[in-house]
Homo-oligomer: 283 residues x 2
């Protein structure tokens, strides 16, 4: 596995690989790998000749009061896990080279960046789309893999790719969960033992939505209220939102229609830790 | 010369040319060619194996009250002139394919897009950087040529290319003028005979700045006031702005420093036609 941190070195290698006819797959991450990340790398491995994994804790996608400074990092462990996952290139650019002081350019996907997560994290998706556009120009991949855990991010990146004519296939892989059902997240390490137990409420709320929908409930408002009640009954949990939307457009769905794929997504703060989860259902 | 209007066809051709090791040069234009455009194509011809000229009157760079609808178009003449200039590919995408109804993504260069022209045309540069980013992803050029006539546009595109890590050389070619000194512009056709004469005031104001600076004047405010007076004395001319800035950063320069390249730029409305011009001077 090759380690690269310089942008020019990465760009030159990508150009060379392309000229050799190699198919490049990229997995953009913020590191601190768990099995979710490894499933992304595995998918890229299946679909590409050369797998590039990027680790970059991107300051532009954190708000001023968010956890950029304390976001967990372990570059040595990430390196070992990337190598074991048969990653070919581990790209770890420096913040000072990615976003130098005189940096001015942002990529913004309107509307989709302002709803749900965007309401609570107003500049988050602008930071995501900007860094992903940069990584696409540096690595020149044929495909990129993202996780369904960040469902809104995946949708926004697909929209950006289509709008800006990036010639890149976007693959989205399923959420990977711990044995007790909590979605894997680098932020789970923030949770105390008690909070870790309470965090199961996200999964339970999604299960509740599932059983209501399978039981024939078609009123999205009623499902949201039941999920809200369940979460509010949990001592340290605070609900940011529950969304029940069209899985492909994120359009609000007051009435669920048979056969239409819907996304049930929620964000919950457990103590000081903000967690997200979602599931796709078909009534 | 090959004519292409489909995005996918253009993208496939660019990919093929790159795999053949060809150096691609692009000249993005809004068509209605004059000698300024032809000088851009000539420069691209000198520096590239394959020259792609794009003609696209980009709706996103026009404000709601601006001249998008009546902007001059002559696709038959453009085709002839491009062919005569040894252009290899004339790319004329459709508006409905470039900006379909569900379009959402914009590229924005902060600060530089909000000064000078940006004050009078608030969404103009956002439209320019967005369409240029799209054209770069479609045509995958090694180099792109822009005109010094749109000095602020050239600076903003260089900033975008650096910030978003496009691996593309940006070349900027000098302003081409009519024999009487007026800068060539597709918008000159809007001018009546009387306005055409009055439009010479832009060139005269730049000459005045030049002679003041060569005469030892170092106070930018004094130069701006003299230029303002000259323009205001012209019957149908209305000054939008005069700027005297660092040519490489567009920083305001109250006092001109010896040896520092400065840009003197102005925008003037002559009747209903808005014209811009500029010159680079070294005190």
């Amino acid at each position: 596995m090759r380690l690269i941190s310089g942008i020019e070195e990465m760009q030159k290698l990508a150009e060379k690989l392309r000229l050799e006819g190699k198919r490049i797959g990229v997995v953009p991450t913020m590191g601190y790998f768990h099995d979710g990340h490894l499933s992304l790398i595995k998918r890229a491995r299946e679909k590409s000749d050369v797998v590039v994994v990027t680790v970059f804790v991107n300051p532009t996608q954190f708000g001023p009061t968010e956890d950029f400074e304390r976001y967990p990092r372990d570059s040595e462990r990430d390196r070992r896990l990337a190598e074991a996952s048969k990653c070919d290139v581990l790209f770890t650019p420096e913040t000072s080279e990615m976003f130098p002081e005189e940096y001015l350019t942002y990529v913004q996907v309107d509307r989709l960046s302002n709803i749900l997560e965007g309401k609570f994290r107003p500049t988050h998706f602008r930071g995501v789309t900007t860094v992903v556009a940069k990584l696409f120009n540096i690595i020149r991949p044929h495909l990129a893999v993202f996780g369904q855990k960040d469902a809104q991010q995946a949708l926004i990146i697909k929209q950006m790719v289509r709008d800006l004519n990036f010639d890149i296939d976007i693959l989205v892989t399923p959420i990977i969960r711990e044995t007790d059902g909590i979605a894997m997240s680098s932020r789970n390490v923030y949770l105390s033992a008690e909070e870790r137990t309470e965090a199961l409420i996200l999964r339970k709320a999604l299960d509740l939505a599932k059983s209501m929908i399978h039981g024939g409930e078609h009123d999205a408002g009623r499902i949201r209220r039941k999920m809200d009640q369940l979460i509010t009954s949990t001592r340290h949990a605070h609900l940011d939102y529950v969304a029940i939307v069209d899985a492909d457009t994120f359009d609000e769905l007051p009435k669920l229609e048979q056969g239409r794929r819907i996304l049930v997504a929620l964000a919950v703060r457990v103590g000081k830790t903000r967690l997200i989860d979602n599931t796709i259902l078909t009534p």
